[in-house]
């Protein structure tokens, strides 16, 4: 049996999982619920304000970091879940899961660099 290369993707899974555990709930509240539920001003998510954050290099870095870690965490867990429910096409599952994460990563990079 050879030493596995899983550590690479598992590190992303573990890092993403830790970040998601601490940040994702409050992010969901801020970006999706605070305004419609009325305890945050709509200005915070306005085009001008968000653009300002995203155009800031620190803002870019943080947003990239959060999205990158979240998608790779989700991708690896989804791969494991597919195996858990009896889907045996391991290579296909890997391509789909990590492919989606790669797509998300590339889309994020492009979006952030173009702003």
């Amino acid at each position: 049996m050879a030493r596995s290369n899983k550590p690479i993707v598992w590190s992303l899974f573990a890092g993403g999982g830790t970040l998601a555990a601490f940040l994702t709930p409050v992010l969901i509240i801020i970006t999706g619920l605070a305004v419609p539920l009325g305890f945050m001003s709509g200005d915070v998510l306005s085009y001008e304000r968000v653009l300002a954050v995203v155009q800031n290099p620190v803002g870019k870095l943080v947003l990239f970091g959060v999205i990158f870690l979240q998608v790779w965490h989700a991708a690896h867990r989804l791969r494991i879940t597919a195996h858990d429910v009896g889907i045996h096409a391991d290579t296909a599952v890997m391509l789909v899961c990590y492919g989606l994460a790669a797509l998300g990563t590339v889309a994020t990079v492009f979006a952030l660099l173009s702003l």
Partner: protein, 255 residues
């Protein structure tokens, strides 16, 4: 004077999955009505069946005190040591099956070969820094060093954890909770330098990386070994080793 008349008894209906390889195509349940004493464990009821009702029932047991690890079986779907499960905690119907995820040899006896092979593969013994003779005396070890791995020494190889593990169920190639916990036990032992020798098995795909931290193994362990924690710690150690090996390529193998 017959002290038995003071002990309350209860009729328990026990369904056991039987299988005779010489006559049966597949296993089938057989039901027994057993008058059980209130202080009995499941093993006592099974022994009663064999002694008084059906001599043909086959099963493993030995110490009757949860140290030998022989009497593992599924009791109402839960991997259990039958000597460790009190009837007073169960309703009037019991369903007993051989330990899950192992081939059935006969009745409640399962084929343990796969586990034994995996146990051997992780080198479950001290690999010392240098060869010692009897005259060198014993290794010395501080209490703090012992404390690091003591919990993982408590494994009695009962394989309840393998019966509980969905990843072992889905992939019989998985090295499994007990074997990996034992590898971790030796890797943590200050007298041992065999971590790199075990790496081939432990850090492989069917090693720790097959585990998805369901945690059922630790739930069913009768001695709180917590194999799930051993595997997660081994994963983290494996990640550090992996990246270290790129930053500092190994010259010769450590030994």
């Amino acid at each position: 004077m017959n002290a038995d008349t003071d002990i309350k008894t209860r009729i328990i209906e026990i369904e056991i999955l039987r299988y005779n390889p010489e006559t049966d195509i597949e296993p089938a349940f057989q039901t027994y009505e057993v008058p059980c004493h209130e202080d009995w464990v499941v093993l006592d009821a099974v022994n009663y069946i064999k002694d008084e009702i059906d001599r043909t029932l086959s099963y493993r047991w030995s110490c009757h005190m949860a140290v030998c690890g022989s009497c593992g079986m599924m009791v109402n779907g839960e991997p259990t040591l039958s000597c460790h499960s009190f009837l007073r905690d169960h309703p009037d119907k019991l369903r007993i099956e051989p330990l899950a995820n192992f081939p059935i040899e006969r009745d409640l006896v399962v084929v343990m070969d796969d586990f034994i092979d995996k146990l051997k593969s992780v080198k479950p013994y001290i690999v010392p820094r240098e060869k010692r003779s009897i005259d060198d005396g014993t290794h010395t070890q501080m209490p703090a060093e012992l404390a690091k791995f003591k919990q993982y020494t408590l494994c009695i190889n009962c394989t309840l954890c393998y019966a509980a593990c969905p990843q072992y169920m889905l992939n019989e190639g998985f090295v499994g909770p007990a074997a990996l916990a034992l590898a971790h036990r030796y890797n943590l032992d200050s007298r041992d330098v065999g971590a790199s020798a075990r790496e081939d098995v432990v850090a492989s795909n069917p090693g720790v990386w097959e585990c998805s931290f369901v945690g059922a193994c630790s739930d069913v362990c009768p001695h709180d070994v917590d194999p799930a924690s051993a595997i997660q710690q081994a994963k983290i150690a494996g990640v550090l080793d992996y990246f270290k090996s790129f930053l500092m390529p190994k010259g010769e193998a450590k030994q």
